[in-house]
């Protein structure tokens, strides 16, 4: 679901790819827990 945050943050499309990138790029995972308005 698209929301306004998509304009400002490049969310990773899936949790699995996010975690892969965390490992590859030596960063931390940031998770935004949200629900549609």
């Amino acid at each position: 679901m698209t929301d306004l945050s998509d304009k400002y943050i490049q969310w990773e499309p899936s949790y699995e790819t996010a975690l892969q990138r965390v490992r590859a790029e030596k960063k931390e995972l940031f998770v935004y827990f949200t629900k549609p308005n």
Binding site: M1, D3, L4, S5, K7, Y8, I9, Q10, W11, E12, S14, Y15, A18, L19, R21, V22, R23, E25, K26, K27, E28, L29, F30, V31, Y32, F33, T34, K35, P36
Partner: protein, 150 residues
């Protein structure tokens, strides 16, 4: 969060520079296990996890940009501390602690723990606790400290 906090240039830049961001949307069934596994019952919330997906810090509710920037630093620091990267964590918390906002007391508390874990030396921990109690005597974080013995 979307209109005020994520749109703030410092916030979006900090996230881009230091995190891989993932949105767990309650509307998407795939996201539900992440709510359950991390005991997240309120939206919006933000969570910070390490390379194994272990979540070390969750912040529930809305935050304005200054407090959210501090939250990002505390969350990152907590992940680093879980991997004994205490000196790096301390640097982040040293950035967050001087800001006089609603997260400063918590930043000071975690800074004291990072100092302690870094060298297993309580000297600097007590110094930070003294600062915490002086600056924010009524905060719940100050109540979690105790005076230096003797």
């Amino acid at each position: 969060m979307d209109t005020v906090t994520y749109s703030h240039p410092q916030v979006s830049q900090y996230i881009a520079n230091h995190f891989i961001p993932y949105k767990a949307d309650m509307a998407e069934r795939d996201a539900w296990p992440h709510f359950r596994a991390n005991h997240v019952i309120w939206t919006p919330s933000v969570g910070f996890a390490d390379r194994n997906g272990s979540m070390h810090y969750v912040a529930p509710g809305y935050s304005p940009p200054p407090e959210f920037l501090a939250t990002l630093k505390i969350g990152r620091a907590r992940c680093l501390m879980a991997w004994t990267r205490n000196a790096e964590a301390a640097k982040l918390l040293e950035e967050a602690a001087p800001e006089d906002n609603a997260m400063a007391a918590e930043a000071l508390f975690w800074l004291s723990t990072a100092y302690f874990f870094e060298r297993r030396d309580s000297t600097r921990m007590y110094e930070v606790w003294e600062e915490l109690v002086r600056r924010y005597p009524d905060s719940p974080w100050a109540k979690r400290t105790y005076p230096k013995p003797g």
